[in-house]
Amino acid sequence: MSKGKILVIDDEDIVRLSCSRSLVPEGYELKMAKNGPEGLKMLEEETFDLVLTDLKMPNMDGIEVLGTIKEKWPKTDVVIVTGYQTVETAVKAIKLGAFDYIEKPFTPDSLIATVANVFRIRNG
């Protein structure tokens, strides 16, 4: 039994790989999507506890993905991953219902801590 189901949406292979190599050993079940539309399609098919989404992506950006998830699947938590953190986008993300945000480049420990924090509160 996994600790939780997580969907990672990021256009960069290395980021998806980093997430899986950090979180899978911790006991989370991870699925990957290369972009926003693909991630939303997977969300239609199965339920996720948490979505880690990149902010800047082609086709659809993280804020849009966040908006759709919060509209359709309010129970799913969202953490924004960004390499381009600004106060404005952070405030916007939190206002739209993001649980937290994490800056790139992150270490495995900081990612694990952020995700653990989400599940502690979900399960809390």
């Binding site: 960069e12 980021v15 980093s18 190599r21 950090s22 600004t86 992150f106």
Partner: protein, 525 residues
């Protein structure tokens, strides 16, 4: 110079005209006077002539009444000797010379058509029996000829001789030729004297007029002409010195006023052209500066956009390096060489991460969340952060903050980042020892109120060649790994975004001052 053209000059013409008029006028006057005098003198001579002839008549009366021809002849001869008497003759009624001062003439019969007879008698008509006189020209002088009739009277026709009948009115006539030599001589002398007087008078009057005209007209006119030539040649400072109240004086004053106006106009023109040149220079300089600033800002802005792009692209691979570095590290026990190698990879990845954060800060400097801010408060909180840092233990940090400092509209966290950069740079310049002084003040430059913050260090100073590049991203003089070269670039971007400026004043060997100026709000702190 005026003498050379004397004949054509105003003076020459005036003197010529006045002189001619003077001479002509005096001549006419003296001629009239002279003629009048001559007439008077002649009348006197005639009067004396008649008196003389009367005298002859009376002298010979006794002889005639007593018919003593010899006595009469002797008397006439005696009278005829006197000076100025040329000739004395007594005619009888037949026109025959009865007696004469010159005996040769006695007995001569005058022709009835002789000029003497025609003075009283006409060939056919009536006879005039009045005394008459006539002047004829002699060889050397004029001759006055006087004729006086001898009238019949009772003592004549009653005399015992019965020589003359009672009915005869005129018995004969006495004629005398008198010399006018003295009169002519006197008149001639007078004429000469008058001519000399007139000439002398004319010369004197002309001379006086000449002097007057010279002094009152010619000299001032020549001074004026000289002044005009000077002014025409460009000497506008030249003044005509004629202090008089007449028209010439007025002309001189008008001329001076004119040259004054000309000089003023000329000076104005020169000044205007000078200032114009200066203004054009200033404007050109200002445009050049603005252009440079624009180029600089544009450069920094495009660098910012590029930095953001680069940061975003590099963060993902960096995430991989950091993540896998950490994962690998766990596989090697502490103290092994492999573990140390992994540590190096992780450290360098972290360094990259720091650089990218700096770059993002630089890129982000273009947006700010501004509010009314007290710069002194921001500085105090910044100083609190650095005070406890080890780097500042041996540096004397002092703040001289103006309590009446104006407020500014600013993004406080961004300003704190700028101030932190400034203080850290100052500390780096001091190389761990020396002093950093921070001062704030209100300032007015060209009517605009500013708040000025000065960061002064006692470091080495900044070289000229470094000054040009100091605000460019990635420019650093610090050792590799110590600085990213983004601090000042980010600070510059933030201050520009706040409508402020950063300027540097540096002296090699003594230290550097950074001056930050931000536009002040109207209200005071």
């Amino acid at each position: 110079m005026l003498v050379n053209k004397s004949f054509y000059s105003l003076t020459g013409k005036l003197i010529l005209t006045i002189g001619t008029l003077m001479i002509a006028g005096s001549m006419l006057f003296w001629l009239f006077l002279f003629k009048h005098q001559e007439k008077e003198l002649l009348a006197t001579s005639v009067k004396y002539g008649y008196s003389f002839v009367d005298y002859i008549r009376n002298s010979t009366r006794y002889g005639m009444l007593t018919v003593q021809g010899t006595l009469i002849q002797q008397t006439v001869e005696a009278v005829g000797i006197a000076e100025g008497i040329l000739n004395v003759r007594i005619f009888n009624s037949r026109g025959e010379v009865a007696y004469s001062s010159d005996k040769k003439h006695v007995g001569t019969l005058l022709d009835k058509n002789s000029p003497l007879c025609l003075r009283c008698h006409t060939a056919s008509g009536p006879t005039k029996d009045t005394p008459s006189w006539k002047i004829t020209k002699g060889d050397k002088y004029r001759i006055l000829n006087i004729v006086q009739p001898i009238y019949n009277e009772p003592s004549c026709y009653n005399a015992s001789c019965h020589a003359h009948p009672r009915g005869q009115r005129v018995l004969g006539l006495v004629e005398a030729d008198l010399s006018l030599e003295l009169l002519d001589h006197g008149i001639k002398q007078q004429g000469i004297a008058i001519t000399v007087y007139v000439l002398a008078f004319s010369i004197v009057i002309s001379g006086v007029l000449c002097i007057i005209i010279w002094n009152f007209v010619s000299t001032p006119l020549s001074i004026l002409a000289h002044g005009m030539r000077k002014v025409a040649a460009g000497d506008l400072d030249f003044k005509v010195n004629i202090n008089r109240r007449d028209e010439i004086g007025e002309l001189a004053n008008t001329f001076n006023a004119m040259s004054d106006d000309l000089r003023k106009a000329k000076n104005e023109r020169i000044e205007w052209s000078n200032t114009l040149e200066k203004k054009v220079e200033e404007k050109t300089e200002a445009i050049h500066r603005a252009q440079q600033q624009l180029i600089h800002s544009e450069k920094l802005a495009s660098l910012g956009r590029m930095a953001a792009g680069v940061a975003h692209e590099i963060n993902s691979p960096l995430t991989g390096i950091v993540t896998f570095g950490h994962l690998l590290r766990k596989k090697f026990p502490e103290g092994t060489e492999d573990r140390e190698d992994i540590e190096v990879i992780i450290d360098q990845a972290n360094r990259c991460s720091t650089i990218i954060k700096g770059l993002l800060g630089f890129a982000r400097a273009t947006t700010a969340d501004k509010a009314q801010t007290n710069i002194n408060d921001v500085l105090n909180s910044t100083l609190n952060i650095v005070k406890n840092k080890a780097d500042f233990f041996n540096i004397q940090l002092s703040a001289n903050l103006d309590p009446s400092l104006s407020m500014v509209k600013a993004d406080a966290p961004q300003l704190q980042q700028v101030f932190l950069n400034m203080i850290v740079n100052a500390a780096d310049a001091c190389e761990g020892k020396g002093s950093i002084t921070i001062a704030t003040s209100n300032l007015n430059d060209s009517g605009q109120d500013y708040v000025q913050i000065e960061f002064k260090d006692t470091g080495y100073g900044i070289k000229d060649e470094d000054l040009e590049k100091i605000f460019e991203p990635f420019f650093t003089t610090k050792p590799v790994g110590k600085g990213t070269g983004l601090g000042l670039a980010v600070s510059h971007g933030i201050i520009l975004e706040h409508g402020g400026t950063i300027t540097i004043s540096t002296i090699i060997g003594e230290g550097t001052s950074f001056f930050i100026r931000l536009p002040a709000l109207k209200e005071t702190a």
